[in-house]
């Protein structure tokens, strides 16, 4: 499972790139694989201020609906309109073209490194049934 070292991770399988300004948020390859084909994505509007852990959207796949939780606190400054138009981008390129939100950070709680997240996956992997 692809877990890029430059990113930070939440236990809810979101990734965040805090090296860019604003920061970029998406879901991990593990989450995308567990969801299957994503058929719908809804994202919080730009201008929305959210605390860390608040719901910032939902992704719906053939078999399930998953809420997205913002792993950091901040203001949504952009959403990926290409993903809203073609949600399959999330599965095809979760760390690239499938990014979801850009966030101006106000609060960055402790997040997992790539190694931490890999260990988290090993502990929680139950076969990955979505």
């Amino acid at each position: 499972m692809d877990v890029p070292a430059r990113l930070r991770y939440s236990t809810n399988h979101e990734w965040i790139d805090t090296t860019t300004e604003p920061a970029t948020v998406g879901i991990t390859a593990f989450a995308a694989a567990a969801l299957g084909d994503v058929i719908y994505a809804e994202l919080s509007e730009p201008g929305t201020h959210l605390a860390a852990g608040e719901v910032c959207g939902e992704v719906e796949s053939t078999k399930s609906v998953a809420e997205l939780y913002l792993p950091v606190g901040g203001e949504i400054v952009a959403t990926n309109e290409a993903v809203v138009a073609d949600p399959a981008l999330i599965g095809a390129d979760p760390y690239g073209a499938g990014w979801l939100l850009r966030v101006r950070l106000t609060d960055v709680p402790p997040l997992m490194t790539a190694d931490d997240y890999r260990a988290h996956l090993t502990e929680t992997d139950n076969g990955g049934a979505a």
């Binding site: 299957g36 084909d37 719906e60 053939t62 949600p87 599965g91």
Partner: protein
């Protein structure tokens, strides 16, 4: 869904699925392939070419003996004694109140022998009910689920695939018929049945022959684009085809009439049968709810349990029913659903919506099935 892996039963093909990269899901106590790659691609493969399914979780119960035909006439709502040898019949097991305990396909293998293929979730219930209802000399009920497997080939190229392996004998099989055939040197019951809305075949084989049969079918279908297909696409295929699934459109709280399937109840057959009085009453009174098709216009999918409401000026007015199943239809490109609604709600002028996580989405009532295969 959250049963631990160690308690799940594995079908004989489990390792073969793992080799193909399957993602597994727990279903009715079994670990079954959910999908191998993209479930949408698998769905399209079945509609356009052919898909290969493992259905070994489904129950295989045999009812045999000189009294078997009469016993099944009593136990099930269909007229099983009138089914010719070699033919299959879709039927139901109901309780005394007319509630559906299982919907199943019965294959008459011989004058005195039937194979009943049950929903995995109901195999235990069906076995117990049949043993009670068919008690007495002259009928034996045997559960063969554990020592057999079921493999299905479904899609417009299913006949080509099966003919390549089995020969012309297979393609002479008419719809809803079955025959014992030699499949690459192994005995199998081959039936022209399925649950996808496509032409197709189901192979009932010994557990020890499952892997060889699966591999032989994959090889035979390679030139026709045969693709392994999991339970995720099986669900979207059956929804497009307007077919009920037990636990969703059917359960013990409804009779066949609430699912629009009153035709499966054979009131004219000789003798009494379990549920007869209650079912006759429901037939005369009319179904308490009706099962309808709904088509949405956005991308959000009405799902099991979502409320169906009347619309007044675009907002939800009055609850009239509930969604039983829904999916984004890969063929239509629109959300489709089946819903159980009050009969008064389905008039020509009714405007309905579905409440999806707080938002009311307008839907149109559509005739089922959503998809009918070209012939």
């Amino acid at each position: 869904m959250h049963q631990s892996q160690t308690t799940l039963l594995h079908p004989p093909l489990h390792a073969a699925h793992a080799e193909l990269g399957a993602r597994f899901t727990g279903f009715a106590g079994w670990s079954m392939p959910l999908r191998y790659g993209s479930e949408t691609a698998e769905h399209r493969a079945v509609r356009e070419r052919a898909g290969l399914f493992d259905l070994s979780h489904m129950g295989q119960l045999e009812v045999s003996g000189p009294q078997a035909p009469a016993a099944l006439d009593h136990a099930l709502v269909g007229h099983l004694s009138a089914v010719p040898v070699g033919r299959a019949r879709y039927t139901m097991l109901c309780d005394e109140t007319g509630g559906v305990l299982d919907d199943l396909v019965a294959y008459r293998l011989a004058a005195d022998r039937y194979l009943l293929v049950t929903n995995a979730v109901n195999t235990g219930t069906a076995l117990a009910e049949l043993r009670t209802r068919c008690a007495g000399p002259g009928t034996t009920v045997t559960d063969h689920t554990a020592e057999r497997a079921i493999i299905a080939v479904q899609g417009p190229r299913a006949a080509d695939t099966v003919e390549a392996l089995v020969g012309a004998e297979s393609t002479r099989l008419g719809y809803y018929t079955a025959a014992e055939l030699d499949v690459g040197g192994r005995p199998a019951l081959v039936a022209r049945t399925g649950y996808t809305g496509e032409d197709g075949f189901e192979f009932f084989v010994r557990a020890g022959d499952a892997v060889d049969t699966w591999r032989a079918l994959l090889a035979a279908g390679a030139t026709y684009g045969l693709t392994p297909a999991g339970l995720a696409c099986r669900d979207t295929l059956r929804i497009e085809a307007g077919m009920p699934l037990y636990g969703f459109e059917l359960h013990r709280g409804v009779t066949p009439f609430e699912a629009g399937l009153g035709r499966v109840v054979a009131f004219a057959k000789p003798g009494d049968f379990v549920g007869r009085a209650a079912l006759a009453e429901r037939r005369d009174a009319g179904a308490a709810t009706v099962l309808v098709g709904l088509v949405g216009s956005g991308r959000r999918v009405p799902r099991t349990g979502h409320p169906v409401v009347t619309l007044a000026g675009g907002t939800a007015a009055e609850p009239v029913g509930v969604v039983t199943s829904g999916a984004l239809s890969p063929v239509l490109g629109r959300p489709v659903a089946m819903a159980r609604v009050h009969p008064d709600a389905v008039g020509a002028r009714s405007r309905l919506g579905v409440v999806i996580r707080g938002d009311t989405e307008p839907v149109e009532i559509a005739r089922l099935p959503f998809y009918r295969r070209p012939r």
